[in-house]
Amino acid sequence: MTEPLVRLTSISKSYGGAPALADVDFACAPGLVHAVLGENGAGKSTLMKLLAGVIAPDSGEIEVEGRARRFATPRDAAECGIVCMFQELSLMPHLTVGDNIVVAGAKPRFGLVGRGDYAQARAALDRVGAASVSLSARVGELSLAERQLVEIAKALYRKPKLLILDEATSALTSELVATVFGVLRELKAQGAAILFISHRMHEVDAIADRISVFRNGRHIETFDAGARNPDQVIGLMIGRSLEELFPPRRPPPGDAPIALNVAKLNWGEQLRDVDLVVRKGEIVGLGGLDAQGQQQLMHAVFGVLRGVTGEVTLDGRPLDGVRPSRAKRADIGLALVPEDRKTEGLILDMSIADNLRLAALSRAPFGVLGLARDSQTRLRTLLDRLALVYGALEDPVATLSGGNQQKVVLAKWLLLSPKCLLLMDPTRGIDLPTKAQIYRLLRDLAAEGLAVVLQSTDYEELIHLCDRVYVFYAGRVARELQGDDLTPDALIAASMNVPLAAGARA
């Protein structure tokens, strides 16, 4: 076996008495893609933060290429060739794509940044399949998927010896993931080590050479990819099987009343003549490659976009001129769980309770909260149903894990008892057990008559959870899939707008 690039020896780290990592030994070798698996709170993120110099261990040693190191800042780690891509994107929104990438570089000659630096940034972008992203575009104007690509390009630009990817592909469609994986394989062939964290099992299967499983802050086992079957791997992670992940499908009868009806919806170039029907009790998926109009459809229905033409009705009632502030009213009953929970879904510094109250604000009598007597009990019941793990309702939302933050977003809207729930990639970057809980909850809600629209980049989710899937391509509905037609091949073919046979070969 080759000499490891990075070796951790009996590392421990605890936060306020709660151990996040306990006596962990870990090593990763050059020329390998090493996947780190574990549910949220297993210690993966802490491990990555230690390697990236964000936090320092309480005890234990970090060796890089045989030399003991102490990282005080991410800069120290970067100088040792360790580059980390976190789920919380590390891009500067007001800077251009080019500046964002170049600013990460080593010290240039005479302190001047030149054309050559930007040419390299361009090359890095092209390499990860972001050829359509302009160097002069502002990062704040890019979609989540584009920002992730820029983030990966930025990491490549720094020529890492150890590249850490923490949910780096969570917003990418399978096509882009394949491009990124191609780049990772090149890096690996050049002798770089890659640490890969993902909650998507098929991605781990596709790229990992070696797998380490963490549970409760401990390093459980490391083995070569393929040495264990997926069920065994999940068993190691959580002690449960994959069948438990998705609840059984319970589609409503074909003649169930129509909840949401969208007809001939148009918005500039991005939505063209979209027709769509969601019945009560149905979970309808919106699939397709990135930015084909799925997100815009959600925003159009919720009244975020201006200049939308076409007809949208909910329970037969037209939704003309609806705004987010009106859409949530009891008589309309529309709720949207946005794509980016950190900026659009929650106010991170506010407490859990206050975040939950915010959406309900207009419903409170005279705008004064706490008058409705049953509100507290309803809140508790709902949070129990979601199995939210929290200290106190007064804690800031920022203290919760990603999965639990997403549950708060869901709870916030469910408190309003909507008739139709629009979800934008609700399980992005969330661990399997929490995903399973959210899936079960959605299924239960649908059974109670809620109409659910789910936009997702995760094919497994579309295939196993949804009753029907609309696949978008270039602003149109390319195909509607349901029942036995709803297969991975059909979904991929429809996403690329090619006949099924061609798609299956691709």
Binding site: L91, L95, K107
Partner: protein
């Protein structure tokens, strides 16, 4: 060109507003377009422009500097003691004055970076101390400043105001430094998102210290130029520079949220402010009514910048 205007829309609007105001000013001025009128206008603009550049560097890293005016006053007072005598003494005096300003800025930066004080509070306190120092050094206006140097810097070169040449040179130098060097990029990076910059490996503390020190340097430069124009040291000139420098950067399209804007914008904003107040002076309006109309024109200029909201197609963009 069109794409450039679209990208720098707030700056383009500010420039357009400035052109309109300048034409109105020239039309209303009894002496019309002449080297004399333009030189006075450019000198006034340069004074506030340098202070606004000082404010720009702090605002760029998501701060706000209430000590810009006091530093201008202190360096003006220091210059009134040191800017006289032989040419060697003059150079030494200028360097000492700039060093005083830079030190004041560095102290602000240290309070914000190491003391973790909110910029508005830190600079309120330091500004008060700096004004106090200026008053102790020179309780009443006075002192002497070398007149040859003053003449050389406040008149014109072949009909072009010297102050305008100096400001343009400074702007060219600054935009190269900000857009083409790593320090410049890291200033924008820190202002745009401190956590992201930190994760990228930027030395955030050092960059912020640099921003405050550069701010102090330009405030001192403004103070030096005040000495050139007025030929005295006056400890009481501070307050108007502080608030006007903040108004100028906002007018020039610099975001108070950090990470957005340019020194050019700060200077354009300063020229707009100075042109409005000169316009009032010659407008023939009763002096007591002038502040109201000055505010009205300012509000109109700001409203122009807000026109962009009508073109937004996704309402989410209003909050971005």
């Amino acid at each position: 060109m069109i794409s450039l205007i679209r990208r720098e829309r707030s700056l383009a609007i500010a420039v357009a507003a400035l052109v309109v105001l300048f034409v109105a000013y020239i039309l209303i001025h009894p002496r019309g377009f002449s080297v004399y009128v333009v030189t006075i206008w450019a000198n006034q603009g340069a004074l506030l422009g340098l202070a606004a550049i000082a404010q720009f560097f702090v605002v760029l890293v998501r701060g706000i500097d209430l000590s810009v005016g006091p530093i201008v006053a202190l360096s003006n007072v220091v210059a009134s003691y040191l800017l006289d005598g032989s040419s060697v003494a003059l150079v030494g005096g200028a360097v000492a004055t700039l060093a005083v300003g830079t030190l004041c800025g560095l102290a602000n930066g240290a309070a914000v970076v190491f003391g973790r004080a909110p910029p508005i509070v830190a600079t309120l306190a330091s500004g008060s101390m700096i004004s106090g120092l200026a008053l102790l050094l020179r309780p009443t206006p006075g002192g002497a400043v070398n007149e040859d140097l003053s003449d050389a810097l406040t008149y014109d070169v072949h009909g072009v105001p010297t102050s305008a040449i100096l400001i343009v040179a400074a702007l060219v130098g600054l935009s190269v430094a900000l857009r083409r060097t790593l320090l410049g990029l890291t200033l924008y990076a820190v202002g745009s998102s401190e956590p992201s910059a930190y994760m990228t490996g930027v030395r955030v503390a050092r960059v912020k210290l640099a921003a405050y020190a550069i701010s102090g340097f330009f405030a001192a430069l403004a103070g030096l130029y005040v000495s050139m124009v007025t030929l005295t040291g006056d400890p009481n000139i501070g307050p108007s520079y502080t608030l006007n420098s903040i108004a100028a950067v906002v007018l020039g399209g610099v975001s108070l949220g950090g990470g957005v804007g340019s020194p050019l914008g700060a200077v354009v904003g300063s020229l707009i402010l100075k042109t409005i107040s000169s316009l009032m002076f010659f407008s023939g309006l009763p002096p007591l009514a002038q502040p109201f109309f000055e505010g009205l024109v300012l509000a109109a200029a700001i409203a122009l910048g807000a026109l962009g909201v009508f073109r937004v197609r996704s309402r989410l963009d209003w909050f971005r």
